[in-house]
Protein backbone atom coordinates (compact mmCIF):
# COMPACT_ATOMS: atom_id res chain seq x y z
CA UNK A 1 0.00 0.00 0.00
CA UNK A 2 1.22 3.49 -0.83
CA UNK A 3 2.25 5.66 2.10
CA UNK A 4 0.86 8.85 0.58
CA UNK A 5 -1.58 9.09 -2.24
CA UNK A 6 -3.68 11.68 -3.99
CA UNK A 7 -6.65 10.78 -6.12
CA UNK A 8 -8.10 13.26 -8.62
CA UNK A 9 -7.25 16.25 -6.51
CA UNK A 10 -8.49 19.67 -7.58
CA UNK A 11 -7.75 22.82 -5.64
CA UNK A 12 -9.16 26.29 -6.10
CA UNK A 13 -7.96 29.58 -4.62
CA UNK A 14 -11.19 31.48 -5.09
CA UNK A 15 -11.63 31.30 -8.88
CA UNK A 16 -8.07 30.24 -9.56
CA UNK A 17 -7.89 26.56 -10.45
CA UNK A 18 -4.47 25.82 -8.95
CA UNK A 19 -4.34 22.01 -9.08
CA UNK A 20 -6.03 20.01 -11.81
CA UNK A 21 -6.92 16.35 -11.40
CA UNK A 22 -3.68 15.33 -9.75
CA UNK A 23 -3.31 11.63 -9.02
CA UNK A 24 -0.12 10.37 -7.43
CA UNK A 25 1.10 7.58 -5.14
CA UNK A 26 4.25 7.63 -3.04
CA UNK A 27 5.74 4.61 -1.24
CA UNK A 28 7.18 4.46 2.24
CA UNK A 29 10.91 5.07 2.71
CA UNK A 30 11.39 6.74 -0.60
CA UNK A 31 12.37 10.25 -1.58
CA UNK A 32 10.04 11.88 -4.04
CA UNK A 33 10.93 15.17 -5.69
CA UNK A 34 8.40 17.66 -7.06
CA UNK A 35 9.82 19.85 -9.76
CA UNK A 36 8.36 22.47 -12.06
CA UNK A 37 8.45 26.19 -12.76
CA UNK A 38 7.26 28.75 -10.20
CA UNK A 39 3.52 28.80 -9.72
CA UNK A 40 3.04 25.30 -11.12
CA UNK A 41 1.31 24.12 -7.93
CA UNK A 42 4.02 21.83 -6.56
CA UNK A 43 4.21 23.60 -3.19
CA UNK A 44 0.44 23.81 -2.97
CA UNK A 45 0.26 20.09 -3.64
CA UNK A 46 2.88 19.35 -1.00
CA UNK A 47 1.01 21.39 1.60
CA UNK A 48 -2.11 19.31 1.07
CA UNK A 49 -0.49 16.41 2.91
CA UNK A 50 -0.32 18.19 6.26
CA UNK A 51 -3.34 20.39 5.58
CA UNK A 52 -1.34 23.60 5.68
CA UNK A 53 -3.61 24.97 2.95
CA UNK A 54 -6.39 25.07 5.53
CA UNK A 55 -4.88 28.30 6.85
CA UNK A 56 -5.51 30.15 3.62
CA UNK A 57 -8.98 31.63 3.29
CA UNK A 58 -11.21 30.80 0.32
CA UNK A 59 -9.52 27.51 -0.55
CA UNK A 60 -11.64 24.71 -1.95
CA UNK A 61 -10.31 21.18 -2.23
CA UNK A 62 -11.81 18.28 -4.17
CA UNK A 63 -10.61 14.68 -4.37
CA UNK A 64 -8.98 12.41 -1.80
CA UNK A 65 -5.69 12.75 0.00
CA UNK A 66 -4.84 9.50 1.73
CA UNK A 67 -2.10 8.89 4.29
CA UNK A 68 -1.62 5.35 5.59
CA UNK A 69 -4.97 4.36 4.12
CA UNK A 70 -6.89 7.16 5.81
CA UNK A 71 -8.54 10.10 4.10
CA UNK A 72 -6.97 13.02 5.97
CA UNK A 73 -9.68 15.47 4.94
CA UNK A 74 -12.47 13.45 6.51
CA UNK A 75 -14.21 14.98 9.51
CA UNK A 76 -12.91 12.44 12.03
CA UNK A 77 -9.28 13.30 11.44
CA UNK A 78 -7.57 15.49 14.02
CA UNK A 79 -5.44 18.02 12.19
CA UNK A 80 -3.05 18.37 15.13
CA UNK A 81 -2.39 14.62 15.23
CA UNK A 82 -2.00 14.50 11.46
CA UNK A 83 0.61 17.25 11.55
CA UNK A 84 2.43 15.46 14.34
CA UNK A 85 2.76 12.47 12.04
CA UNK A 86 3.75 14.55 9.00
CA UNK A 87 6.63 16.89 9.65
CA UNK A 88 7.44 19.85 7.50
CA UNK A 89 10.53 21.86 6.65
CA UNK A 90 9.98 25.24 5.06
CA UNK A 91 11.59 27.23 2.31
CA UNK A 92 13.35 29.67 4.60
CA UNK A 93 14.78 28.52 7.92
CA UNK A 94 12.16 29.58 10.48
CA UNK A 95 13.43 28.76 13.96
CA UNK A 96 11.42 30.16 16.87
CA UNK A 97 12.92 33.06 18.79
CA UNK A 98 13.88 30.62 21.53
CA UNK A 99 16.96 28.66 22.48
CA UNK A 100 18.27 25.86 20.30
CA UNK A 101 17.09 23.33 22.84
CA UNK A 102 13.61 24.82 23.11
CA UNK A 103 13.25 24.88 19.34
CA UNK A 104 13.73 21.15 19.13
CA UNK A 105 11.68 20.48 22.26
CA UNK A 106 8.78 22.65 21.08
CA UNK A 107 6.93 19.91 19.20
CA UNK A 108 7.11 17.58 22.19
CA UNK A 109 5.95 20.28 24.58
CA UNK A 110 2.90 21.20 22.54
CA UNK A 111 2.06 17.54 22.23
CA UNK A 112 1.89 17.22 25.98
CA UNK A 113 5.17 15.47 26.70
CA UNK A 114 6.51 16.53 30.11
CA UNK A 115 9.09 13.82 30.82
CA UNK A 116 12.30 15.83 31.05
CA UNK A 117 14.57 12.86 30.58
CA UNK A 118 12.73 11.79 27.44
CA UNK A 119 12.79 15.31 26.02
CA UNK A 120 16.53 15.64 26.59
CA UNK A 121 17.09 12.33 24.89
CA UNK A 122 14.90 13.16 21.90
CA UNK A 123 16.54 16.56 21.44
CA UNK A 124 19.93 14.94 21.32
CA UNK A 125 18.84 12.16 18.96
CA UNK A 126 17.09 14.56 16.62
CA UNK A 127 20.04 16.94 16.49
CA UNK A 128 22.28 13.97 15.74
CA UNK A 129 19.94 12.81 12.97
CA UNK A 130 20.06 16.30 11.52
CA UNK A 131 23.88 16.14 11.84
CA UNK A 132 23.89 19.31 13.93
CA UNK A 133 24.67 17.83 17.35
CA UNK A 134 28.45 18.24 17.31
CA UNK A 135 28.10 21.87 16.25
CA UNK A 136 25.58 22.90 18.90
CA UNK A 137 25.97 20.52 21.83
CA UNK A 138 27.82 23.15 23.89
CA UNK A 139 25.41 25.98 23.23
CA UNK A 140 21.96 24.46 23.48
CA UNK A 141 20.80 27.34 25.66
CA UNK A 142 21.87 29.95 23.12
CA UNK A 143 19.42 31.64 20.78
CA UNK A 144 18.69 29.76 17.59
CA UNK A 145 19.32 33.00 15.72
CA UNK A 146 23.01 32.75 16.51
CA UNK A 147 23.30 29.85 14.07
CA UNK A 148 24.11 30.27 10.38
CA UNK A 149 21.38 29.87 7.78
CA UNK A 150 22.36 26.29 6.97
CA UNK A 151 22.56 25.36 10.64
CA UNK A 152 19.17 26.97 11.21
CA UNK A 153 17.66 24.86 8.44
CA UNK A 154 19.15 21.70 9.93
CA UNK A 155 17.77 22.83 13.28
CA UNK A 156 14.35 23.07 11.64
CA UNK A 157 14.80 19.53 10.33
CA UNK A 158 15.77 18.35 13.82
CA UNK A 159 12.70 20.13 15.16
CA UNK A 160 10.51 18.28 12.69
CA UNK A 161 12.14 14.92 13.47
CA UNK A 162 11.86 15.33 17.25
CA UNK A 163 8.19 14.37 17.33
CA UNK A 164 8.90 11.20 15.35
CA UNK A 165 6.83 11.76 12.24
CA UNK A 166 6.72 9.09 9.56
CA UNK A 167 6.70 11.56 6.69
CA UNK A 168 8.81 14.68 6.20
CA UNK A 169 7.64 17.27 3.71
CA UNK A 170 10.34 19.65 2.51
CA UNK A 171 9.29 22.80 0.68
CA UNK A 172 12.39 23.99 -1.21
CA UNK A 173 14.52 23.50 1.89
CA UNK A 174 17.76 24.68 0.32
CA UNK A 175 16.60 27.64 -1.76
CA UNK A 176 17.90 30.13 0.80
CA UNK A 177 21.19 28.34 1.43
CA UNK A 178 24.69 28.41 -0.02
CA UNK A 179 26.06 25.37 -1.94
CA UNK A 180 27.93 23.91 1.03
CA UNK A 181 24.92 24.06 3.31
CA UNK A 182 22.81 22.68 0.48
CA UNK A 183 25.14 19.74 0.14
CA UNK A 184 24.81 18.96 3.84
CA UNK A 185 21.03 18.99 3.66
CA UNK A 186 21.06 16.73 0.63
CA UNK A 187 23.28 14.26 2.43
CA UNK A 188 20.89 14.41 5.30
CA UNK A 189 17.89 13.67 3.09
CA UNK A 190 19.67 10.64 1.73
CA UNK A 191 20.37 9.32 5.22
CA UNK A 192 16.89 9.99 6.51
CA UNK A 193 15.31 7.85 3.80
CA UNK A 194 15.82 4.71 5.82
CA UNK A 195 13.41 5.86 8.52
CA UNK A 196 11.14 8.37 6.84
CA UNK A 197 9.12 8.95 3.74
CA UNK A 198 10.38 12.18 2.26
CA UNK A 199 8.77 14.52 -0.23
CA UNK A 200 10.90 17.39 -1.41
CA UNK A 201 9.88 20.33 -3.56
CA UNK A 202 12.79 21.83 -5.40
CA UNK A 203 13.69 24.35 -8.05
CA UNK A 204 17.02 22.77 -8.51
CA UNK A 205 16.93 19.90 -10.98
CA UNK A 206 20.37 18.60 -10.10
CA UNK A 207 19.16 18.37 -6.57
CA UNK A 208 16.15 16.33 -7.62
CA UNK A 209 18.40 14.09 -9.64
CA UNK A 210 20.82 13.66 -6.74
CA UNK A 211 18.49 12.93 -3.86
CA UNK A 212 15.25 11.48 -5.15
CA UNK A 213 14.06 8.04 -6.14
CA UNK A 214 11.06 9.32 -8.00
CA UNK A 215 10.31 12.66 -9.56
CA UNK A 216 7.03 14.34 -10.38
CA UNK A 217 6.97 17.20 -12.87
CA UNK A 218 4.21 19.78 -12.45
CA UNK A 219 3.24 22.38 -14.98
CA UNK A 220 0.36 24.90 -14.73
CA UNK A 221 -1.37 22.94 -12.00
CA UNK A 222 -1.17 19.61 -13.77
CA UNK A 223 0.97 16.60 -13.05
CA UNK A 224 2.68 16.15 -16.39
CA UNK A 225 4.88 13.20 -15.64
CA UNK A 226 5.72 11.00 -12.66
CA UNK A 227 8.35 8.29 -12.88
CA UNK A 228 11.66 7.02 -11.52
CA UNK A 229 14.05 9.94 -11.30
CA UNK A 230 16.43 8.22 -13.67
CA UNK A 231 13.79 7.94 -16.36
CA UNK A 232 12.61 11.51 -15.96
CA UNK A 233 16.06 12.92 -16.45
CA UNK A 234 17.28 10.55 -19.14
CA UNK A 235 14.25 9.60 -21.21
CA UNK A 236 11.23 11.73 -20.37
CA UNK A 237 8.04 10.68 -22.11
CA UNK A 238 6.54 14.14 -22.41
CA UNK A 239 7.95 16.91 -24.53
CA UNK A 240 7.17 19.57 -21.83
CA UNK A 241 9.22 17.63 -19.30
CA UNK A 242 12.07 17.41 -21.71
CA UNK A 243 11.92 21.11 -22.45
CA UNK A 244 11.91 21.95 -18.76
CA UNK A 245 14.75 19.70 -17.68
CA UNK A 246 16.91 20.80 -20.57
CA UNK A 247 16.37 24.37 -19.46
CA UNK A 248 14.32 25.66 -22.38
CA UNK A 249 11.87 27.34 -20.02
CA UNK A 250 11.29 27.71 -16.32
Amino acid sequence: MAKLSANKVNLFYGDNHALKDVTLKMDANTVTAFIGPSGCGKSTFLRLFNRMNDLIPHVRIEGDIVVDGEDIYSKEVSVDLLRKNIGMVFQKPNPFPKSIFENVAYGMRVNGIRDKHYINERVETSLKQASLWTEVKDKLKKSAFELSGGQQQRLCIARALAIEPSVVLMDEPTSALDPLATHKIEELVFNLKADYTIVIVTHNMQQAARVSDKTAFFYLGELIEYDDTNNIFTKPREITTQNYITGRFG
Partner: protein
Protein backbone atom coordinates in the same frame (compact mmCIF):
# COMPACT_ATOMS: atom_id res chain seq x y z
CA UNK B 1 13.62 78.49 -15.51
CA UNK B 2 16.01 76.06 -13.87
CA UNK B 3 17.40 78.85 -11.73
CA UNK B 4 13.96 79.83 -10.57
CA UNK B 5 13.13 76.26 -9.61
CA UNK B 6 16.34 76.00 -7.65
CA UNK B 7 15.53 79.18 -5.77
CA UNK B 8 12.03 77.94 -4.96
CA UNK B 9 13.44 74.64 -3.75
CA UNK B 10 15.86 76.50 -1.51
CA UNK B 11 13.00 78.57 -0.08
CA UNK B 12 10.91 75.48 0.60
CA UNK B 13 13.89 73.84 2.29
CA UNK B 14 14.35 76.93 4.41
CA UNK B 15 10.69 76.96 5.44
CA UNK B 16 10.87 73.30 6.42
CA UNK B 17 14.04 73.83 8.45
CA UNK B 18 12.46 76.82 10.13
CA UNK B 19 9.36 74.87 11.12
CA UNK B 20 11.54 72.22 12.69
CA UNK B 21 13.55 74.85 14.51
CA UNK B 22 10.44 76.63 15.78
CA UNK B 23 8.99 73.37 17.04
CA UNK B 24 12.15 72.45 18.91
CA UNK B 25 12.48 75.91 20.40
CA UNK B 26 8.85 75.90 21.51
CA UNK B 27 9.27 72.57 23.26
CA UNK B 28 12.47 73.75 24.88
CA UNK B 29 10.88 77.03 25.99
CA UNK B 30 7.95 75.23 27.58
CA UNK B 31 10.26 72.93 29.50
CA UNK B 32 12.50 75.79 30.61
CA UNK B 33 9.48 77.84 31.68
CA UNK B 34 8.04 74.90 33.59
CA UNK B 35 11.22 74.12 35.46
CA UNK B 36 12.09 77.76 36.05
CA UNK B 37 8.73 78.38 37.69
CA UNK B 38 8.63 75.01 39.41
CA UNK B 39 12.10 74.99 40.90
CA UNK B 40 11.81 78.54 42.22
CA UNK B 41 9.58 77.17 44.94
CA UNK B 42 12.69 75.98 46.75
CA UNK B 43 13.80 79.58 47.24
CA UNK B 44 10.44 80.46 48.77
CA UNK B 45 9.27 80.44 52.34
CA UNK B 46 6.03 78.78 53.30
CA UNK B 47 4.62 82.05 54.68
CA UNK B 48 3.34 85.09 52.79
CA UNK B 49 6.02 87.59 51.83
CA UNK B 50 4.33 90.48 53.64
CA UNK B 51 4.04 88.62 56.92
CA UNK B 52 6.56 89.39 59.62
CA UNK B 53 7.37 86.82 62.26
CA UNK B 54 9.41 88.21 65.12
CA UNK B 55 10.30 87.69 68.79
CA UNK B 56 11.59 89.75 71.69
CA UNK B 57 15.22 90.70 71.09
CA UNK B 58 16.32 88.77 74.20
CA UNK B 59 14.94 85.51 72.77
CA UNK B 60 17.75 83.17 71.62
CA UNK B 61 15.54 81.56 68.97
CA UNK B 62 16.29 83.02 65.56
CA UNK B 63 15.11 80.38 63.10
CA UNK B 64 11.88 78.45 62.81
CA UNK B 65 10.60 75.98 60.27
CA UNK B 66 7.15 76.13 58.73
CA UNK B 67 6.12 73.05 60.63
CA UNK B 68 7.18 74.55 63.99
CA UNK B 69 5.10 77.64 63.32
CA UNK B 70 2.13 75.50 62.45
CA UNK B 71 2.58 73.52 65.67
CA UNK B 72 2.76 76.73 67.70
CA UNK B 73 -0.48 77.91 66.14
CA UNK B 74 -2.04 74.52 66.81
CA UNK B 75 -0.71 74.76 70.39
CA UNK B 76 1.28 71.57 70.05
CA UNK B 77 4.27 73.70 70.98
CA UNK B 78 3.58 76.05 73.84
CA UNK B 79 6.96 76.64 75.45
CA UNK B 80 10.10 78.19 73.93
CA UNK B 81 12.29 75.49 75.42
CA UNK B 82 10.64 72.94 73.10
CA UNK B 83 12.25 74.73 70.19
CA UNK B 84 15.59 75.63 71.73
CA UNK B 85 14.73 78.75 73.72
CA UNK B 86 14.35 79.68 77.38
CA UNK B 87 11.78 78.13 79.67
CA UNK B 88 8.99 80.57 78.95
CA UNK B 89 5.54 80.06 77.52
CA UNK B 90 4.95 81.25 73.99
CA UNK B 91 2.61 84.22 73.72
CA UNK B 92 1.28 84.34 70.21
CA UNK B 93 0.49 87.86 69.07
CA UNK B 94 -1.58 88.34 65.92
CA UNK B 95 -4.01 90.96 64.67
CA UNK B 96 -6.76 89.24 66.68
CA UNK B 97 -4.78 89.63 69.91
CA UNK B 98 -4.01 93.27 69.06
CA UNK B 99 -7.72 94.03 69.05
CA UNK B 100 -8.13 92.71 72.58
CA UNK B 101 -4.85 94.00 74.00
CA UNK B 102 -5.00 97.62 72.90
CA UNK B 103 -7.84 100.08 73.14
CA UNK B 104 -9.06 101.88 70.06
CA UNK B 105 -7.64 105.04 71.54
CA UNK B 106 -4.20 103.51 71.78
CA UNK B 107 -4.28 102.27 68.18
CA UNK B 108 -5.88 105.35 66.73
CA UNK B 109 -9.13 105.32 64.80
CA UNK B 110 -7.40 104.42 61.54
CA UNK B 111 -4.83 102.15 63.22
CA UNK B 112 -2.25 104.87 62.59
CA UNK B 113 -0.59 104.17 65.97
CA UNK B 114 -0.88 100.37 65.80
CA UNK B 115 2.73 99.97 64.68
CA UNK B 116 4.01 101.75 67.76
CA UNK B 117 1.78 99.65 70.02
CA UNK B 118 3.03 96.45 68.40
CA UNK B 119 6.63 97.51 68.78
CA UNK B 120 6.28 98.34 72.43
CA UNK B 121 4.38 95.11 73.09
CA UNK B 122 7.18 93.07 71.58
CA UNK B 123 9.76 94.95 73.62
CA UNK B 124 7.99 94.43 76.95
CA UNK B 125 6.92 90.78 76.41
CA UNK B 126 9.90 88.33 76.50
CA UNK B 127 7.84 85.30 75.41
CA UNK B 128 6.09 86.93 72.46
CA UNK B 129 5.86 85.41 68.99
CA UNK B 130 4.71 88.13 66.65
CA UNK B 131 2.85 87.14 63.51
CA UNK B 132 1.81 90.34 61.80
CA UNK B 133 1.35 92.00 58.48
CA UNK B 134 4.46 93.96 57.58
CA UNK B 135 2.50 97.17 57.12
CA UNK B 136 2.00 97.42 60.90
CA UNK B 137 5.67 96.93 61.66
CA UNK B 138 7.47 100.22 62.33
CA UNK B 139 10.67 101.08 60.50
CA UNK B 140 12.68 101.21 63.71
CA UNK B 141 11.40 97.84 64.91
CA UNK B 142 12.91 96.74 68.23
CA UNK B 143 12.06 93.03 68.06
CA UNK B 144 14.05 90.30 66.38
CA UNK B 145 12.79 89.01 63.06
CA UNK B 146 12.67 85.26 62.81
CA UNK B 147 14.13 83.61 59.78
CA UNK B 148 11.82 81.05 58.23
CA UNK B 149 13.50 78.10 56.56
CA UNK B 150 13.00 77.78 52.81
CA UNK B 151 10.94 74.92 51.46
CA UNK B 152 13.27 71.99 50.95
CA UNK B 153 12.95 69.39 48.17
CA UNK B 154 12.73 66.73 50.85
CA UNK B 155 9.84 68.32 52.71
CA UNK B 156 8.15 69.03 49.38
CA UNK B 157 8.44 65.49 48.03
CA UNK B 158 7.99 63.61 51.29
CA UNK B 159 5.49 65.86 53.05
CA UNK B 160 2.19 64.17 53.70
CA UNK B 161 0.02 67.28 53.94
CA UNK B 162 -1.19 69.28 50.99
CA UNK B 163 -2.80 72.49 52.26
CA UNK B 164 -1.33 75.09 49.94
CA UNK B 165 -3.39 77.99 51.27
CA UNK B 166 -3.31 77.12 54.94
CA UNK B 167 -2.62 79.86 57.52
CA UNK B 168 -0.22 80.61 59.08
CA UNK B 169 2.00 78.39 56.95
CA UNK B 170 1.19 76.58 53.73
CA UNK B 171 1.61 72.81 53.91
CA UNK B 172 3.16 71.72 50.65
CA UNK B 173 3.68 67.98 50.82
CA UNK B 174 3.09 66.33 47.47
CA UNK B 175 3.52 62.73 48.54
CA UNK B 176 -0.25 62.06 48.65
CA UNK B 177 -0.61 63.47 45.15
CA UNK B 178 2.27 61.44 43.73
CA UNK B 179 0.98 58.30 45.40
CA UNK B 180 -2.56 59.07 44.27
CA UNK B 181 -1.38 59.41 40.69
CA UNK B 182 0.62 56.19 40.79
CA UNK B 183 -2.14 54.36 42.62
CA UNK B 184 -4.88 55.23 40.15
CA UNK B 185 -2.57 54.58 37.19
CA UNK B 186 -1.65 51.16 38.51
CA UNK B 187 -5.33 50.38 39.01
CA UNK B 188 -6.10 51.53 35.47
CA UNK B 189 -3.46 49.24 33.99
CA UNK B 190 -4.52 46.27 36.11
CA UNK B 191 -7.99 46.81 34.76
CA UNK B 192 -7.10 47.62 31.15
CA UNK B 193 -4.37 45.04 30.54
CA UNK B 194 -6.41 41.83 30.66
CA UNK B 195 -9.25 43.34 28.66
CA UNK B 196 -6.96 45.05 26.20
CA UNK B 197 -4.73 42.06 25.61
CA UNK B 198 -7.69 39.72 25.26
CA UNK B 199 -9.31 42.03 22.70
CA UNK B 200 -6.03 42.42 20.82
CA UNK B 201 -5.50 38.66 20.62
CA UNK B 202 -9.09 38.18 19.56
CA UNK B 203 -8.77 40.80 16.83
CA UNK B 204 -5.37 39.67 15.58
CA UNK B 205 -5.84 35.93 15.64
CA UNK B 206 -9.34 34.71 16.25
CA UNK B 207 -11.83 37.13 14.73
CA UNK B 208 -12.61 36.74 11.05
CA UNK B 209 -12.28 39.60 8.63
CA UNK B 210 -15.82 40.84 9.06
CA UNK B 211 -15.75 41.02 12.84
CA UNK B 212 -12.35 42.64 12.83
CA UNK B 213 -13.36 45.26 10.29
CA UNK B 214 -16.23 46.14 12.56
CA UNK B 215 -14.29 46.01 15.83
CA UNK B 216 -11.28 48.05 14.80
CA UNK B 217 -13.18 51.31 14.11
CA UNK B 218 -15.10 50.85 17.34
CA UNK B 219 -11.86 50.65 19.31
CA UNK B 220 -10.49 53.65 17.48
CA UNK B 221 -13.69 55.54 18.19
CA UNK B 222 -13.08 54.91 21.87
CA UNK B 223 -9.84 56.87 21.55
CA UNK B 224 -11.63 59.81 20.03
CA UNK B 225 -14.15 60.46 22.79
CA UNK B 226 -13.27 63.64 24.72
CA UNK B 227 -12.05 62.94 28.22
CA UNK B 228 -14.70 65.13 29.81
CA UNK B 229 -17.30 62.79 28.36
CA UNK B 230 -15.54 59.86 30.00
CA UNK B 231 -15.54 61.84 33.22
CA UNK B 232 -19.23 62.55 32.90
CA UNK B 233 -19.95 58.91 32.13
CA UNK B 234 -17.84 57.91 35.13
CA UNK B 235 -19.63 60.34 37.39
CA UNK B 236 -23.10 59.29 36.31
CA UNK B 237 -22.61 55.55 35.84
CA UNK B 238 -19.43 54.20 37.42
CA UNK B 239 -19.33 56.25 40.61
CA UNK B 240 -22.87 55.28 41.73
CA UNK B 241 -22.23 51.69 40.66
CA UNK B 242 -19.03 51.50 42.71
CA UNK B 243 -20.80 53.07 45.67
CA UNK B 244 -23.64 50.59 45.46
CA UNK B 245 -21.65 47.43 44.77
CA UNK B 246 -19.07 47.98 47.49
CA UNK B 247 -21.46 49.74 49.85
CA UNK B 248 -19.25 52.80 50.26
CA UNK B 249 -20.12 56.13 51.86
CA UNK B 250 -19.06 57.87 48.64
CA UNK B 251 -18.52 56.37 45.21
CA UNK B 252 -15.83 58.84 44.18
CA UNK B 253 -12.78 56.71 44.77
CA UNK B 254 -9.56 55.38 43.39
CA UNK B 255 -11.49 52.44 42.01
CA UNK B 256 -13.86 54.61 40.00
CA UNK B 257 -10.89 56.59 38.70
CA UNK B 258 -9.04 53.41 37.79
CA UNK B 259 -11.99 52.05 35.85
CA UNK B 260 -12.51 55.27 33.89
CA UNK B 261 -8.79 55.61 33.18
CA UNK B 262 -8.63 51.93 32.26
CA UNK B 263 -11.36 52.41 29.67
CA UNK B 264 -9.48 55.41 28.33
CA UNK B 265 -6.21 53.47 28.09
CA UNK B 266 -7.88 50.54 26.31
CA UNK B 267 -7.63 51.86 22.73
CA UNK B 268 -3.90 52.50 23.10
CA UNK B 269 -3.26 49.08 24.54
CA UNK B 270 -5.47 47.29 22.02
CA UNK B 271 -4.19 48.95 18.85
CA UNK B 272 -0.51 48.72 19.70
CA UNK B 273 -0.67 45.15 20.99
CA UNK B 274 -2.72 44.08 18.01
CA UNK B 275 -0.18 45.57 15.63
CA UNK B 276 2.58 43.79 17.52
CA UNK B 277 0.72 40.46 17.41
CA UNK B 278 0.14 40.89 13.69
CA UNK B 279 3.83 41.33 12.97
CA UNK B 280 4.47 37.73 13.99
CA UNK B 281 5.86 36.20 10.79
CA UNK B 282 3.58 33.73 9.08
CA UNK B 283 6.53 31.36 8.86
CA UNK B 284 6.68 31.11 12.64
CA UNK B 285 2.97 30.40 12.97
CA UNK B 286 3.19 27.77 10.25
CA UNK B 287 6.22 26.20 11.88
CA UNK B 288 4.30 25.88 15.11
CA UNK B 289 1.16 24.50 13.48
CA UNK B 290 3.19 22.08 11.36
CA UNK B 291 4.56 20.59 14.58
CA UNK B 292 1.06 19.67 15.69
CA UNK B 293 0.45 22.70 17.91
CA UNK B 294 -3.14 23.85 18.13
CA UNK B 295 -4.06 27.40 17.24
CA UNK B 296 -4.29 28.32 20.90
CA UNK B 297 -0.90 26.76 21.70
CA UNK B 298 0.57 28.71 18.83
CA UNK B 299 -0.89 31.93 20.20
CA UNK B 300 0.37 31.24 23.69
CA UNK B 301 3.80 29.86 22.90
CA UNK B 302 4.80 31.67 19.73
CA UNK B 303 2.69 34.70 18.90
CA UNK B 304 2.38 36.35 22.31
CA UNK B 305 6.07 35.81 23.20
CA UNK B 306 7.06 37.18 19.81
CA UNK B 307 4.92 40.27 20.35
CA UNK B 308 5.89 40.66 24.00
CA UNK B 309 8.04 43.73 23.50
CA UNK B 310 5.27 45.37 21.51
CA UNK B 311 2.78 44.47 24.19
CA UNK B 312 5.06 45.92 26.85
CA UNK B 313 5.32 49.09 24.81
CA UNK B 314 1.53 49.19 24.64
CA UNK B 315 1.31 48.94 28.42
CA UNK B 316 3.86 51.70 28.90
CA UNK B 317 2.01 53.99 26.51
CA UNK B 318 -1.26 53.13 28.24
CA UNK B 319 0.35 54.16 31.53
CA UNK B 320 1.50 57.36 29.88
CA UNK B 321 -2.03 58.05 28.77
CA UNK B 322 -3.45 57.36 32.21
CA UNK B 323 -0.86 59.24 34.24
CA UNK B 324 -1.38 62.57 32.54
CA UNK B 325 -5.15 62.36 32.29
CA UNK B 326 -6.81 65.26 34.03
CA UNK B 327 -10.46 65.90 33.42
CA UNK B 328 -11.90 62.44 33.92
CA UNK B 329 -9.99 61.72 37.13
CA UNK B 330 -10.84 65.13 38.46
CA UNK B 331 -14.49 64.25 38.08
CA UNK B 332 -14.54 60.77 39.58
CA UNK B 333 -11.78 60.36 42.19
CA UNK B 334 -13.15 62.63 44.90
CA UNK B 335 -9.97 64.75 45.07
CA UNK B 336 -9.03 64.18 48.68
CA UNK B 337 -5.34 64.88 49.05
CA UNK B 338 -4.60 62.07 51.45
CA UNK B 339 -2.29 59.13 51.07
CA UNK B 340 -4.49 56.37 49.69
CA UNK B 341 -4.70 53.13 51.65
CA UNK B 342 -7.23 51.31 49.50
CA UNK B 343 -9.00 51.67 46.19
CA UNK B 344 -12.22 52.48 47.99
CA UNK B 345 -11.05 55.84 49.29
CA UNK B 346 -11.07 59.14 47.46
CA UNK B 347 -7.70 60.24 46.22
CA UNK B 348 -6.24 63.04 44.18
CA UNK B 349 -3.82 63.01 41.28
CA UNK B 350 -1.23 65.57 40.21
CA UNK B 351 -2.97 66.68 37.00
CA UNK B 352 -6.31 67.00 38.77
CA UNK B 353 -4.68 69.13 41.46
CA UNK B 354 -3.16 71.49 38.92
CA UNK B 355 -6.40 71.82 37.01
CA UNK B 356 -8.50 72.36 40.09
CA UNK B 357 -6.24 74.81 41.90
CA UNK B 358 -4.41 76.87 39.31
CA UNK B 359 -7.41 79.11 38.79
CA UNK B 360 -7.42 80.26 42.39
CA UNK B 361 -3.68 80.48 42.96
CA UNK B 362 -2.31 84.03 42.98
CA UNK B 363 0.00 84.64 40.05
CA UNK B 364 3.63 84.22 41.08
CA UNK B 365 2.69 83.27 44.61
CA UNK B 366 3.76 80.29 46.64
CA UNK B 367 0.74 78.18 45.68
CA UNK B 368 1.22 79.03 42.02
CA UNK B 369 4.86 77.95 42.11
CA UNK B 370 3.96 74.80 44.00
CA UNK B 371 1.57 73.84 41.20
CA UNK B 372 4.32 74.38 38.66
CA UNK B 373 6.61 72.22 40.72
CA UNK B 374 3.88 69.56 40.56
CA UNK B 375 3.91 70.02 36.80
CA UNK B 376 7.66 69.35 36.82
CA UNK B 377 7.15 66.14 38.78
CA UNK B 378 4.50 65.00 36.31
CA UNK B 379 6.76 65.89 33.42
CA UNK B 380 9.59 63.85 34.91
CA UNK B 381 7.26 60.90 35.46
CA UNK B 382 5.99 60.88 31.88
CA UNK B 383 9.50 61.51 30.59
CA UNK B 384 10.77 58.42 32.39
CA UNK B 385 7.85 56.43 30.96
CA UNK B 386 8.73 57.59 27.47
CA UNK B 387 12.36 56.66 28.01
CA UNK B 388 11.34 53.17 29.09
CA UNK B 389 9.11 52.93 26.02
CA UNK B 390 11.96 53.94 23.72
CA UNK B 391 14.24 51.45 25.40
CA UNK B 392 11.78 48.59 25.03
CA UNK B 393 10.77 49.48 21.50
CA UNK B 394 14.40 49.49 20.40
CA UNK B 395 15.37 46.37 22.27
CA UNK B 396 16.52 43.60 20.02
CA UNK B 397 14.38 40.55 19.63
CA UNK B 398 15.69 37.34 21.17
Amino acid sequence: MRRLRKIIEKIVEGVLAMSAAITSITVLLIIIFLFDEGLSIFSKKPVDDDTVIAVNSSNPVSKLTGLQIKDIFDQKITNWKQIGGKNDSIKLFRLDEAGTTFTEQQMGSNFERLAICVDSYVVRTPGVLLYFSSKYIPKDFHGKRIEIANITPYSFLMGKQWFPTAQPVAQLGVLPLILGTLWVTLGAILFALPFGLATAIFMAEIANHKVRNYLKPVVELLAGIPSVVYGFFGLIVIVPAVQKIFNLPVGESGLAGSIVLGIMALPTIITISEDALRTTPRALKEASLALGASHWQTIRRVIVPYASSGITAAIILGIGRAIGETMAVLMVTGNAAVIPHSYFEPLRTIPATIAAELGEAAYGGLHFKALFALGCILFIMTFIINLIFEFIAKKKKY
